[in-house]
Symmetry: C2
């Protein structure tokens, strides 16, 4: 069986995915007796195209000089070409554009409408348009997976299938590493918000424009995807009550310390409502995670609270999540064509 | 499609499972358009049998008086009758017998050999005979699931399928709630081992014979299943280097406190080796869980550490895990017969 893949976005995440694929492709091929080829890699100013499969070794050695390849086609846009490449699976790793989720949203819909399964690490199309995108996938009988959109490598979305015996009724989470880093710094080193933010930027945690992180908007987007996936809320980011961490001052920190607490940017989904806000938690609580870790607590009806934690960002981490989505899709498609049990 | 279930063991876990099944069966039936019937429930002194399906409402109202039912068959043993009942799925919840895993091991093998899929919450057959049992299941094309054997409702075994993009290379875990309760008590309240143990027994955490817990044997059994499932070690409990907590004294506790640490019963799987032993961890570490929580840290090759935590014991918790195993098997069997995609 052949799987032809197209990748849109060769940034940090896209490149880490290509490295991981190049590393474990021989294992996948021998284990599943299949052939995986990357036929197209799209950037915003052109594409690398090879109908026999792009040589990933050679490509990766070029680093950022990949536009020097002979099969680099300047100006070729994903939206115009993905339906011409005979792709089975399209992987979308372009940067998140919060306002409208474009062009990722159009890439995803075009792929689903052209008989491709889709994997994306791009949050915005889902927190803006979850119901519609899922409906298109269902109508077209295509698979769509997006584990990397929330808490990166932590399998918090796909775990739904492992918890069908324990109805999930609420979520409390820390979903933004930059905010968590800033609040940890303010707490542990007594520095002011602006200082902590600058340090986070110097270390590369925060973007040069960190507004999405500190305003709570990034966490809110992830919370929407979690709630739509695990609790069937059917909401969008417009439904989230959001409060950022930018007004936390030294008096808030002092008060928390007096109560043996720390302040965290928490995300809540409960009784149909979504909130992101700075909130005190006990110092001994497992929510007192440091640096850029994410943590998600699932409250269940019958089995208490189940907690997952891990790195919430990073190229290799997102690539791991994308790779699991890819293997899942390959297994589903192979089973569908051969009707085998997964033992 | 019909699913006929047999249950062996109507203790704490078996009864909680019947309650959960009775509660959500209408939802499963309407969602999957199937018919689930419990045809037999076996205890060590007889069985309730009804080829039209046991009325669970009536049975559960009777509580421990279930032997007064007209379809109670005194002296009927599971090993003699499970192959006569036309069962699709056999659920094994008898108590763990550490020496030989019997009679659970024989129940499981007999069921697999007679065209039944199997779910078990019984650790011993797996930590003694994992490879053989898995091979029988594979040879017979039967499914076997045992999520409840490790960390109860925490989906730490089935998560393997959600982490195929992040090779797991090591495990560190707290897998025995009783030991953790005792060590927490010694640490937080300064009491001696014997006092803390007695309190755990009074509260119903520890068995009247708590040797399996404090010796590390219970944790070692769970560690074997984890390592065989997630790391393909192919070992048994005889391969675990085990040290109990019974010799921890106030000086050990004092030393840990001086170093800002606590002592935990930790289980390790790394480089092909398995260890269970008391071990210091930093007070601020996420391994510093209280009471009877379990926590499992999976070290991955590409994505750092991924952590799961939740209640490691309890009837309702184990029932949740068994129910998820049941829904998984039903989905697999329905898909296998209709060849549908899981969207």
């Amino acid at each position: 069986m052949n799987f032809n893949i197209g990748l849109i976005g060769k940034g940090n995440v896209g490149t880490a995915f290509l490295q991981l694929l190049n590393e474990i492709n021989p294992i996948i091929i021998s284990r599943f007796k299949i052939d995986i080829k990357v036929l197209g890699i799209f950037e915003n100013d052109g594409a690398i195209l090879d109908e026999n499969g792009i040589n990933l070794d050679r490509l990766l050695k070029l680093g950022k000089e990949f536009r020097t390849l002979v099969n680099w086609k300047s100006g070729y846009r994903a939206l115009d070409y993905i339906d011409k490449l005979n792709l089975n699976i399209m992987i979308e790793t372009t940067p998140t554009i919060p306002d409208n989720g474009e062009p990722a949203r159009s890439h995803i819909i075009k792929a689903l409408n052209n008989k491709m399964d889709v994997i994306t690490s791009n949050k915005a199309p889902l927190y803006l348009d979850y119901k519609n995108i899922k409906k298109i996938a269902q109508d077209r009988m295509q698979l769509i997976r997006y584990e990397a959109t929330v808490a990166s490598c932590v399998p918090i979305l796909s775990i739904k299938r492992n918890l069908q015996g324990s109805k999930i009724i609420g979520i409390t989470a820390i979903l933004n590493g930059t905010s968590n880093y800033i609040l940890s710094k303010m707490f542990n080193h007594g520095c002011r918000f602006e200082q902590a933010l600058k340090e986070a930027q110097d270390l590369g945690y925060a973007e040069s424009n960190p507004n999405l992180d500190i305003s709570g908007y990034d966490a809110a987007g992830k919370l929407v995807i979690l709630a739509d996936e695990l609790l069937d809320y059917g909401l969008t980011i417009k439904d989230v009550n959001i409060k950022g961490i930018e007004n936390i001052n030294k008096y808030d920190i002092e008060l928390a310390k007096l109560n043996n607490q720390v302040i965290k940017q928490l995300s809540f989904a409960k009784n149909g409502h979504l909130f992101v806000k700075p909130h005190p938690v006990n110092k001994s609580s497992y929510f007192n995670v440091n640096d850029s870790l994410n943590i998600i607590e699932l409250e269940t009806k019958n089995a208490g609270k189940i907690v997952l934690s891990g790195r919430g960002a990073g190229g290799a981490e997102a690539a791991s999540a994308i790779m699991n989505d890819l293997i899942f899709i390959i297994q589903e498609r192979m089973r569908y064509s051969s009707n085998k049990l997964v033992m």
